[in-house]
Amino acid sequence: MSIILFSDVSQIYPGEIRAISHVSLAIEEGELVFLMGPSGAGKSTLLKLMAGIETPSSGVLQIIGQDMKQLHRAALPYLRRKLGLILQQNSLLNDRSVLANVMLPLMVVGAKPEEAEQRARVALTRVGLANKAGVLPYSLSGGEQQRVSIARAIVHKPRIILADEPTANLDRDSARLVLDMLQAFNNAGVTCVISTHDERLLERASKIFVLEHGRITAMRMPGNEVGL
């Protein structure tokens, strides 16, 4: 059974603006999937739907077996705890230390502070920022902030990582480092869905969906391309 399943999903905003139109796709557990396309193609909307930030206007969307249209508001947080989100806008809290930011997903689930701190330090070590635990996020570079976001996304051992343009505004080396990290988590069995318009990154993908004007126009897998 697919871990993420879109079946004829459309998302229409007020004013009849169609962000995505009749999208059907399936993502299996453990895959590293890229959503490709120009700005405004609907990549971010797809990720928002996957994260339960928005509910589809029509169609069926299942995340880890949960029908997102049927999902009760009170159950949504428990589903989100199985996801790791890396958002396009910097979503770090600038009035808290890097360590406190990374501890947040664990505090939310009621972990003991000592345990949360220990796990957050491990996550920061994995992204190479163990020495930055005590600093405030705004004093870090863009690449470092993105790595903190990654540490926060993986600290609670999610089943799926959703990353919206994780390499945007990063230089080539930082982008490669971020991608290396995401691939390492994918190699450890975590499903990763990454939106990007940077074609250089696609060599790592196990599946690529190409979006244009809110529709999937092609699906590429290593070695072949399927036009849709």
Partner: protein
């Protein structure tokens, strides 16, 4: 255990949020304290007046003056008739016979009347009965007491029955009005407290909007987000309650001397007393509940608006 950790964390977070904007919290606390001070002082004064008003209102007396020529044994035997009439009119009463000698003696004891009494020569006072009524002072009861007085007047050997029902009615009306007014003012000011706390927490929610949104995306439940704000509301209520209690106690201390002097000029002793521990706990609890209520309404409204 997780539940306890979550609450402990929320208490800590609430303190942190207050520490981030202490001045605004202090000013809000002062506003809430001032709003609480009036109903609190009203409550404490009412508690003080309760025994006094019970004595004045709930135990009115009917004085029955007997004829001057009525023999003593006949006068004493009238007690049975009076008790029977009280029972017939469903009025609970205690009956005290006051012989004319005792009445004169009592009159003599009042220092400023000694000279007047000594000029009278023979005892001018009749034997009398005092009927002390017990129970509430409702309109229906006033009617019962009036009927009883009329019936007592008709008993042979009774010269005059004295019952100032108009006075009784007026006093009952004033007491009812004062009580209603107190509850109205208290309810209004409690609404003010809830509104102030509501607004304080609304501003805090706006200040922490980013944190709330991020927490939501990371899987925070509504309860997790709301808890620190509930505690902030309760803190605000508690601190405002303590402050208003201090204001009321200072007020009592300042007013007590003039109040005692005023009471003394009416030949009575009255002082506003400090509230007992039970009243203090009740008032502080009420302040905490109001703070919690204001915070809950604010958080509920905010969470309904965001996903």
């Amino acid at each position: 255990m997780k539940w306890l950790i979550a609450h402990w964390r929320a208490v800590f977070d609430a303190s942190l949020k207050i520490k981030m904007a202490p001045l605004s919290f202090i000013f809000n606390t002062i506003v809430v304290a001032l709003a609480l001070a009036l109903p609190m002082s009203g409550w404490i004064v009412l508690q003080d007046l309760q025994p006094l008003s019970n004595q004045v209102l709930v135990d009115p007396e009917i004085s029955i003056y007997l004829s001057m020529d009525l023999p003593r044994d006949k006068a004493e035997s009238l007690a049975t008739d009076f008790k029977r009439l009280s029972n017939q009119h469903h009025v609970t009463a205690s009956l005290t016979f006051i012989p004319r000698e005792s009445a004169l003696e009592n009159l003599n004891k009042q220092a400023d009347l000694t000279d007047v009494v000594s000029t009278l020569g023979a005892n001018p006072l009749p034997d009398a009965y005092v009927v002390k009524l017990t129970g509430s002072t409702s309109e229906a009861r006033v009617k019962q007491v009036q009927d009883l007085a009329t019936a007592l007047e008709k008993v042979e050997g009774v010269h005059t029955v004295q019952l100032d029902t108009l006075w009784l009615k007026r006093l009952a009306a004033v007491f009812t009005l004062a009580t209603s007014l107190f509850w109205f003012v208290a309810a209004t000011l409690c609404c003010v407290v809830v509104a102030v706390v509501f607004n304080t927490i609304r501003l805090q929610l706006l200040t922490h909007a980013d944190e709330i949104n991020v927490s939501r995306l990371l899987g925070a439940t509504d309860a997790f987000i709301a808890r620190p704000f509930y505690y902030t509301g309760a803190y605000l209520g508690l601190l405002a309650g303590l402050l208003s209690l201090a204001l009321v106690l200072i007020g009592i201390q300042l007013l007590n001397q003039p109040v005692a002097a005023l009471a003394q000029s009416y030949g009575t002793v009255f002082q506003l007393s400090w509230p007992n521990l039970g009243t203090v706990i009740f008032l502080l609890l009420a302040a905490v509940v109001l703070g919690f209520l204001g915070a809950s309404l604010s958080v509920w409204r905010s969470l309904r608006r965001s996903l």
